[in-house]
Each structure stands twice: as structure tokens, then as C-alpha cells.
């Protein structure tokens, strides 16, 4: 069945996220919070996450271009990113955030710039993986509803 196929795909995608450690157990905990009354909870959370994080990253990138670099501001935003990434289970993104923060903490601005680039890469890749996943999920759910 088509829906079955879709479900299988979704399951496979999801599993791959865990295998690649793109997501960690926090994600499963979020899934558990989902219920009948809020079936799209996880997706909503991620929508919010992506919206805010994209804005954060852009702000950081801007800040890194200004002279002098306001490292406190950058650190604050990184801290924010750390909290939200950790809360949604964005494992790899979180790692990059932590790495960059450490480098920044040591005063290594060049290193921080490099770190931000890495972070951006990781984040984009993460977003690129999760968004289709949620789309499929939505698709599958709506299909199921139609039935």
C-alpha cells in the first residue's frame, strides 16, 4: 500500500537519523510526549526550532563580520542554540555549538569563525534531513486520516 510504503520510508529515515547520531534520545522523548490531542507536537517543535535557529545563526554570522567582533553576543546566542538544540535532540548540531563555544571561550576568533562555518554546515544538513522527514510524516498522517 502506498501508505505502508510511506510509513516504511519514514521509519527508515528516522532510524537513519539515530544511526548517524544526527538525533539523540531526546528526540524519542519528544515523540513520547506526542499524543492523541497533539499529534503533531514534534513537528511543531521542530518548526519552531528551525525558525529560531536559522535566525540565530544568521545573527551570529553577521556578528562575526562586524569589527570588532562582539564575542559576548556571539556566545550568548551560541548558548541559546545550545539549549534549544539539546532540547530537541539535535545531536550533531549541539556538538558543533559546544565546540565553537569552547574555541570562542579561549579567545580564538579565527577558530571561532571556522567553527561557525562548521556549525552552519551541520545545521543546514540537519534541517535538510528533518524537514522532508516531517513532510513525509504529515503526508502519511493525512493519508491515514483520509482513510
Amino acid at each position: 500500500m502506498e501508505s505502508k510504503h510511506v510509513h516504511q520510508q519514514i521509519a527508515a529515515m528516522r532510524q537513519s537519523f539515530f544511526d548517524e547520531e544526527v538525533l539523540d534520545e531526546k528526540f524519542s522523548q519528544l515523540e513520547q510526549l506526542e499524543g492523541k490531542d497533539n499529534p503533531n507536537f514534534v513537528e511543531e517543535v521542530f518548526t519552531m526550532y528551525f525558525r529560531d535557529s536559522t535566525a540565530f545563526l544568521e545573527t551570529i554570522e553577521q556578528a562575526m563580520k562586524t569589527i570588532p567582533i562582539d564575542s559576548i553576543k556571539v556566545d550568548n546566542i551560541l548558548h541559546q542554540l545550545k539549549g534549544s538544540s539539546a532540547s530537541v535532540g539535535a545531536n550533531k548540531v549541539l556538538k558543533e555549538v559546544n565546540k565553537t563555544r569552547q574555541v570562542l571561550g579561549k579567545g580564538n576568533l579565527e577558530g571561532t569563525k571556522a567553527g561557525i562555518l562548521e556549525l552552519r554546515k551541520e545545521y543546514d544538513s540537519f534541517k535538510a534531513k528533518l524537514e522532508p522527514y516531517f513532510q513525509k510524516l504529515k503526508q502519511a498522517n493525512s493519508v491515514a486520516q483520509e482513510k
Binding site: L33, H79, G83
Partner: protein, 680 residues
């Protein structure tokens, strides 16, 4: 209540008894708990809300601190607990924490992605009931209600204490016991009996008290202002109206001041009632605790006090001081006026601010220095707890566990103790009080009350243990309580792992033997309480050495002298929280004791029967084993921590000690001690 779950469910045990009367509430509780969650990150806020709902709580969310504050102000009784992020754009989470504490006195839990110890410490010292690291797990939220219960219980006690003047002495103790009992292993101590009584009373009152009566939170600063005003007017002439005017705090009513004054007077009375030796003990303990900056001051003071009282032979005092002071980074020799000390402690504990005060003196690393031998590798948290512990020890082992949620309770105690101490130099007590009060985290079951008990004993002895009731350490509180109880009966709750008895011995006997054999045994007991963090870290009991140093207050004291001892030991041990080291049993010579006190190694030597703190012992043993056995009078270095000293054993051991220092040593070989239920 069975303290069985010292660790986690302390609140449970207490709540069971507490909620007896509150049928309706308990039925649905903790479901329906009204939580206000504040976080500027919408993703986190959303997730938290979901999790809280999943825990069946009633959630209100805010993304700005200002909004949260206004919501709270509009509806003061509309929330049970607040969950707040640390980093927020419009207001620092700690500021919000302070506001809430002062204005509404609700339990506040801090959250952050930052888990650096400095930040966590800050949370603790600002009075947070708990500190969660993001990502927050739902399991952590499931237990949120315990903070509410605990706080109410403490408030109740405070209320109760202020209410019953006559029974003030008794009640606080009882409540302390009760608190401890719930948190600590109530096992064997008579405290448990008292607890029961108390609990019953408390239960009934709890309902009323939990009906959110707007309470004034006597923060450290506020209390300091209060004490300053009282001192200015003169304790005899201090009337609420004048105090209020002098304090000039907006929003404070005459009634608030009056009830606070009442408690304070009680406390002072208790302090003055403490025998000299007790103060000596505390002094000794304090002395031992030099490392804790704040404590050190006390120590110095205490030592002096002790010396002054004549109980502590000049030599001993000198030695102690040298030992303690020398070791401790703190300027132990600086006898910080008791008053100051007290204030520091008393206030600190309540609000867990002691961290700040203490911090100054004791850097985490430093604190541990008290126990020379003891590797103070305590982790920051431990240090905090140790500090608290140390403080308490020094001060009387104010075990204020970092989490000072209980501060409210502690305050009254502290105050009282503080005052007393001034007079008596029972700083130790104050310390104890403070520490006790702070034992927020420590599953302090309400430990703050213990401090009260301790205060009375003057030798802050038990006070300390109480606070230190770290979850695992509930034992300590009991231990500390011993001294308080003076009466040789170590507060049941506290199971002072044996060590405390030692401490109390010191105090109880009052006669600190000239040769200061009175080891600071008590110290052992104290340690546990500190462990709020210790639990996690298991310690670095090293700081407990102070305790061990146990200025060897005679075993004679041991009857209740635990208190005295505790104080001393506590101070020493305070650091570590592992008072196990307190094995001051050997206290033989003051000199020795003093030395021993400071080093964890001493602890061993001291073997003070006090190892009451079994926990501590365990802990200490590990760390403090370094104790220089030679220090303490060559007596049995080995057993320093008989890990499980039964209290009785300790007592007897202590008694024996009195007879002969040398012999006591042997006695203290508590190898076979079975700690009374020290919930390790």
C-alpha cells in the same frame, strides 16, 4: 516517616506525614501543581510545557521574566512553583529568583544549558531549590512537587517556631527532628519519637501553613539588617517598632519584625543556655574549619571562645588555631566577631547565600584545605556543600546545603544561634545553624530546624548535621543534632554517625577537657549533610578533617557534646562534608586534636567515635584516610572512620575517652561500628 529514601524521596516521607491532615490536597497531589515556567527560548518553552502537562501539572508559560513577575504579583497564591531559565534577555534569571524569593517565597527551580559549577553555585546561593541542566528530562520534572512540599514544611516549621515561644526550644528541635527524620534515617534516634509528635502537630498545622500565608522571607541581607538594628538598639531595648524604623525596609510590617524578633530572642536564649563547653566545642570546630573563609573566622572566634571559656586549654587553642588556621586558607585566627560570623552564617544559610560569603573565604578548593590531609578534590559542588558543611562545622556546621530552600527556616534558627553565639561564642552553632538551614538540597528534610535544635545546644552541634543532611547524608544531620540535644541524645534523626556523638561529647560535657581530648568527633557526623553535592561526588570528605580534629573534646562531652564536637568537627569536616573523618576519638590532646582536626588524616586518628557520619566516614575514609594518624595522639589512627559507629558506641567510646585519652583512642576504634542507619 521513614527516611528510607533519604535521597530522593525525602520529601515523600515528610509529605506523607505532612499531608495526613490535608486529605483533599494529598489526594490529587502532586497532580494539579501550578507551575509557572519562564524561558525566553520558545522551543524550550514549548517542550517544557508539554512535559509539565504530561506530569499532570497545571502550566503557565511566560517567555519574559517581567511577565512572569507580574503574573506572580497579580496572583500571589496562584502558583506553587516556578521554573526559570537562567539566561534571559530582559532580566537575569538570578534576579528573578531573588525577587520571587523575597516577594512570594515560592520554590524556584533554575534551568540552563550551562552546567558550569559557578553558575550552579550561583543558583544555589541565590536560593534556588534546584538547578536543572538542559536538556531537561521529564523525569526531573516529575519530582518537582517535592520542592513544594519541602518548602511548605519548612515554612510551617518556621511559623510554628515563631508561634510557640515557650516551646520554642522544644519545638524547633522537634521540627528539626522531624525534618531530619524524614530526611535522615530516623532510625534510631529518639528524635524519631519526637518527630512523630512533631509531625503530628506539624501535619495539622501544615495545612494551615500551606494555605499560602504571605510570608516575609528573611533573607540573609534582611536578617543582617535586622540584627544590625537590634544591636544598635540593644537587645533589651529592641522593640519591633524601632527595629522596623531602623531597618527601613519597604513592605516590612511590624508584625513581621515582631515575629522575627521573637524567634531571634529564642535563639539567643538558647545560645546563652548552652554551656560554655559547648561553645568551646564550637569554637574548636570552628577553628578547625579555617579553610572556609567564613568559617575560619568563626573558627578563630570559636577557638578563642573556647580558650576563653577556659575549657580549651590555651595550648589547645593555639594548636587548634594553628592547625586549623594554618591549614585553612581561612584566616582562622581571625576571630571574626561571633556576631559577624553568625550573621554570615545565619543568613547565608537561609538563602544559600552562604555560598557567597563562604565563597569569599573558601574557594572551593580552599575549603577543603581544612583538612590537610584530605584531598580536597571536592568538586565544586561538593565544595559548596562542604563549605556549607565547613561552615557549619565551623559555625556549627551550618549545613546549609546549597540548596537552601529551606532557608526560610534556617533563618530563624540562624538568627537565634547567631545571637547566642555572639554571646557565647557559640559560633559553632551559628554555623551549624546556618548550615543546617541550608541544607536545601540535602534532602534536608527540614533540616533547618535541626539547626535550631542545635542552636540551643549552643554548641551548634547538631545544627550542623541537620543541614548537612544531604540526601544520602541524612545521617549527618542527626549527628549534628546530637550536640544539640545536648542531652546526650543525639537527635534521633540525625543519626550522627557516631561521629557526632563525639562531637556532642565535647559539648555536652561542657568540660572540654583541658587537654582537649574532646575530639571534635562530631565532625564525622557533619559531613554527610553537606553532601548535597556530595552525593554526587562522594566526596571528598577531606574537609571533614576539621571534624576529626575533633578537638578531642572530651568524650565526656560526648553525651551530647556531640554538639560541641560536631561543631568543631564540623568545621573541620565541614568542608568535606564527610565528617567521617571526625573520628576524633582520639582527641587526646588538644594539640593533637587540633592537628588532627585539620587533616583528614586526623580524622582517622581521631577516630572520633563520632564517626557518626558514617557516610562521612565512608567518604572520609576514602579521602581522608590520609589523615595523619600521627596527629591525633597517636591513638588509633586506624580506625578513623569506623564507618559505622553506632551512636551508642560512639557515646560510650567518647565517654571512655574522657577517662583516658589514650584509652579512648582505642575505644574509638570503631571498627565494628555499625552506623546507625546512616543512610549512606
Amino acid at each position: 516517616m521513614n527516611v528510607s529514601s533519604v535521597k530522593g524521596s525525602m520529601s515523600i516521607s515528610s509529605s506523607t506525614s505532612t499531608w495526613k491532615a490535608g486529605d483533599t490536597i494529598s489526594d490529587q497531589f502532586p497532580a494539579g501543581l501550578r507551575v509557572l515556567v519562564v524561558d525566553d527560548d520558545p522551543t524550550c518553552l514549548m517542550i517544557l510545557e508539554k512535559m509539565l502537562i504530561a506530569c499532570l501539572y497545571k502550566v503557565t508559560k511566560c517567555n519574559r521574566a517581567e511577565t512572569a513577575l507580574s503574573k506572580l504579583r497579580e496572583n500571589k497564591n496562584g502558583y506553587d512553583i516556578v521554573l526559570s531559565d537562567v539566561h534571559m534577555p530582559d532580566m537575569d534569571g538570578f534576579k528573578l529568583l531573588e525577587h520571587i524569593g523575597l516577594e512570594m517565597d515560592l520554590p524556584v527551580i533554575m534551568m540552563s544549558a550551562d552546567d558550569g559549577k559557578q553558575v550552579v553555585m550561583k543558583g544555589v546561593t541565590h536560593g534556588a531549590c534546584d538547578y536543572l541542566i538542559k536538556p531537561v528530562r521529564i523525569e526531573a520534572l516529575k519530582n518537582l512537587w517535592q520542592h513544594v512540599v519541602r518548602k511548605r514544611k519548612n515554612e510551617w516549621k518556621e511559623f510554628e517556631q515563631s508561634g510557640s515561644v515557650e516551646e520554642g526550644d522544644r519545638q524547633p528541635k522537634q521540627s528539626d527532628d522531624a525534618d531530619y527524620s524524614s530526611s535522615a534515617n530516623e532510625g534510631n534516634w529518639k528524635g524519631s519519637k519526637r518527630r512523630k509528635d512533631e509531625e503530628e502537630e506539624t501535619d495539622e498545622r501544615d495545612d494551615t501553613s500551606t494555605l499560602k500565608k504571605p510570608r516575609v522571607v528573611w533573607s540573609v541581607e534582611l536578617h543582617q539588617q535586622f540584627v544590625a538594628a537590634v544591636n544598635q538598639l540593644g537587645i533589651d531595648k529592641a522593640v519591633p517598632k524601632k527595629i522596623l524604623e531602623l531597618m527601613n525596609v519597604p513592605g516590612l510590617t511590624r508584625e513581621n519584625v515582631a515575629s522575627h524578633l521573637q524567634k531571634y530572642r529564642l535563639y539567643l536564649r538558647r545560645l546563652s543556655g548552652v554551656s560554655q563547653h559547648q561553645s568551646n566545642l564550637s569554637t574548636i570546630i570552628s577553628a578547625q574549619d579555617p579553610t572556609f573563609g567564613s568559617l575560619s573566622s568563626l573558627s578563630g572566634l570559636d577557638l578563642q571562645t573556647l580558650a576563653a571559656t577556659g575549657q580549651l586549654p590555651a595550648q589547645s587553642l593555639a594548636r587548634l588555631q594553628a592547625a586549623g588556621l594554618g591549614r585553612a586558607t581561612a584566616k582562622s585566627a581571625v576571630p571574626i566577631t561571633l556576631v559577624d560570623q553568625r550573621n554570615i552564617f545565619s543568613f547565608e544559610n537561609p538563602k544559600l547565600r552562604f555560598g557567597e560569603g563562604q565563597q569569599q573565604h573558601m574557594t572551593n578548593k580552599q575549603q577543603v584545605n581544612l583538612l590537610h590531609g584530605i584531598p580536597t578534590t571536592m568538586e565544586p559542588k561538593q565544595l559548596v556543600s562542604l563549605r556549607h558543611a565547613a561552615q557549619s562545622v565551623g559555625n556549627m556546621n551550618m549545613q546549609v546545603p546549597p540548596h537552601g530552600p529551606q532557608s526560610s527556616q534556617n533563618n530563624p534558627l540562624l538568627m537565634q544561634m547567631g545571637q547566642q553565639q555572639q554571646q557565647q561564642k557559640s559560633r559553632g552553632q551559628i554555623l551549624v545553624d546556618s548550615t543546617i538551614n541550608h541544607a536545601p538540597r540535602l534532602s534536608s528534610m527540614g533540616q533547618p530546624i535541626l539547626s535550631n535544635g542545635m542552636a540551643t545546644n549552643v554548641s551548634s552541634r547538631s545544627g550542623i548535621p541537620e543541614n548537612i543532611r544531604a540526601p544520602g547524608y541524612s545521617q549527618t544531620p542527626s549527628m549534628l543534632n546530637f550536640p544539640m540535644k545536648h542531652a546526650s541524645e543525639l537527635p534521633g534523626n540525625c543519626f550522627p554517625l557516631g561521629s557526632t556523638p563525639g562531637v556532642s561529647n565535647l559539648t555536652s560535657k561542657g568540660a572540654f577537657q583541658e587537654d582537649v581530648n574532646s575530639e571534635i568527633k562530631g565532625s564525622g557526623g557533619f559531613m554527610p549533610s553537606y553532601d548535597v553535592f556530595n552525593d554526587l561526588n562522594q566526596h571528598k570528605p577531606q574537609s571533614w578533617e576539621l571534624q576529626n580534629v575533633g578537638i578531642a573534646f572530651d568524650s565526656s562531652q560526648h553525651s551530647n557534646s556531640l554538639q560541641g564536637n560536631l561543631d568543631l568537627t564540623q568545621s573541620a569536616l565541614g568542608q568535606q562534608g564527610f565528617s567521617s573523618g571526625q573520628m576524633n576519638g582520639h582527641n587526646r590532646s588538644a594539640a593533637v586534636a587540633s592537628k588532627a582536626m585539620f587533616s583528614t588524616g586526623d580524622v582517622k586518628e581521631l577516630r572520633s567515635a563520632q564517626n557518626v557520619n558514617q557516610h562521612l566516614n565512608n567518604l572520609l575514609v576514602d579521602n581522608t584516610i590520609r589523615v595523619k594518624s600521627e596527629r591525633v595522639c597517636d591513638t588509633s589512627p586506624a580506625n578513623i572512620f569506623p564507618d559505622h559507629f553506632g551512636q551508642d558506641d560512639l557515646m560510650s567510646a567518647l565517654l571512655k575517652q574522657q577517662e583516658s585519652v589514650a584509652s579512648s583512642e582505642n575505644e574509638f576504634d570503631f571498627d565494628g561500628y555499625s552506623m546507625n542507619n546512616i543512610p549512606v
